[in-house]
Symmetry: C2
Subunit: 254 residues, 2 copies
DNA sequence: AAGTGGTCTAGACCACATT
DNA sequence: ATGTGGTCTAGACCACTTG
């Protein structure tokens, strides 16, 4: 059962052969074991993990090695560690989304979770750009959600979400909650781990401007987001048109 | 000389008094010592640091504690660690800037360092927004550099850099290199450690459009960057108007 | 061969939260 | 008082680079 034995074998083999890049440290293999448990739903969001000592004994490595694996997962926002309490699986609550995924901030205030008003939910064959973004085979369908998100009643973002129907079958039937990532997690067991955003400046056409209650040709920030699952596969494509008259996109370069 | 003694004293004092948040781990104090050496120019960019063992012996802590301090500094891109070679002070070469500070990438390619054509260098009293951004006292002056940056001969960014004259005195006299952060470091001993960018979508006025060789009212990405020094104080304000017709701003959400 | 950072272990003790 | 994560130490060994 212990990963330890596998590891030592792996290491000895690599050392004997001298393959230049065939080395994976023990704590990364332990980390992979933990990621697999997250993927398999063994530790669903909100769960408290066993203590470091228990995990170390179970797997057959030292507590320090378990610690290093858990530390990396916490750095990736997949786990939350709290001194004195324990280690927990991160949830997609509003706090986390605001911190990790929502970069649009009012100029004068602090980030808040916007309201959502759904315009349309539909299923259709994936367009070329959706196929490419989501890595779909030709012919696959997507579920599209179009909605306007507002802050204090003022429209701020016009959003089009594209989802692989293969993964999210049935989503188009029910109501669409404000917090989509929470739904992916709770109903489909899909954890959004990180995302890549591409930003451009555009001007709104008549229809878009109408939905956002501004003049045609108003400039807007176009965000093309691809959200990636725990295993690195794309699970959502989201196009957002954001009004930046009284808000901005915040990017911290470290 | 050893920090160790100071530390233990600090720890005992805190334990005795029971101040709730008065605890600073040893490795953070060691880290602060290293940051101070970077600030003081004891270890200029490119320098190779003494080995972990030497540093541990000098300061009077264990090698593991030194290691944890160095690891944090490497994670902040202030140091570069290379197995078998040593630990080095990070330099502001084009590779680092491209990786850490330059987020505008061509839609079809990979990020490249753009050419630069200076329009104007001038000194003037700081405007209200510059005062606020740079934390300047009223009456202080700034040096302004205005330039167009191009990729393959095509204008891409119209940039206005504002610098505290107090820090960068004399900069307006000499030539302005393409890589400004390298100049700050080499000539003024100022290390840009990180930055905060605020993005908005705007449309270009006639003058801006002319300088970028596009039509008036073309949409552009406005980036308002404040660059922070090692000690967290603002040292540069940079406004960039970016054409996003064939390029985009890349933001990775992790 | 020697020197560097990287990994792994084992054990002691500290800070924090809960019971 | 107990259990958790967080820090610190000491030592062994591994992987990588350079002479």
């Amino acid at each position: 059962m212990s990963v330890h034995k596998l590891e030592n074998a792996e290491r000895r083999g690599a050392a004997g052969m001298g393959e230049p890049l065939g080395f994976r440290p023990l704590y990364r293999q332990v980390k992979a074991v933990f990621v697999q448990r997250l993927l398999d739903g063994v530790w669903p969001p909100g769960t408290g993990l066993p203590s470091e000592g228990q995990l170390a004994a179970e797997i057959g490595v030292s507590q320090g090695t378990v610690r290093k694996a858990l530390d990396e997962l916490a750095a990736e926002n997949l786990l939350v560690r709290r001194q004195g309490r324990g280690t927990f699986v991160a949830e997609h609550d509003e706090r986390r989304i605001l911190f990790q995924f929502f970069k649009l901030v009012p100029d004068d205030g602090v980030a808040r979770f916007p309201d959502s008003s759904v315009l349309e939910v539909a299923t259709a064959p994936a367009a070329a750009d959706e196929q490419a973004a989501l890595g779909l085979p030709p012919g696959d369908s997507v579920i599209r959600v179009r909605r306007v998100r507002s802050l204090d009643g003022a429209p701020l973002v016009l959003e089009t979400v594209s989802l692989p129907q293969r993964i999210f079958a049935g989503l188009e039937a029910g109501p669409v909650p404000n917090n989509l990532y929470g739904l992916y997690s709770a109903r489909y067991g899909v954890t959004v781990a990180n995302a890549r955003e591409r930003l451009k400046a555009v001007v709104l056409d008549a229809e878009q401007a109408g939905l956002l209650a501004v003049a045609t040709a108003t400039p807007a920030l176009l965000i093309d987001r691809i959200a990636l699952s725990l295993d690195g596969s794309p699970v959502e494509r989201r196009l957002s048109l954001c009004l930046t008259g009284e808000a901005h996109y915040l990017s911290d370069l470290r």
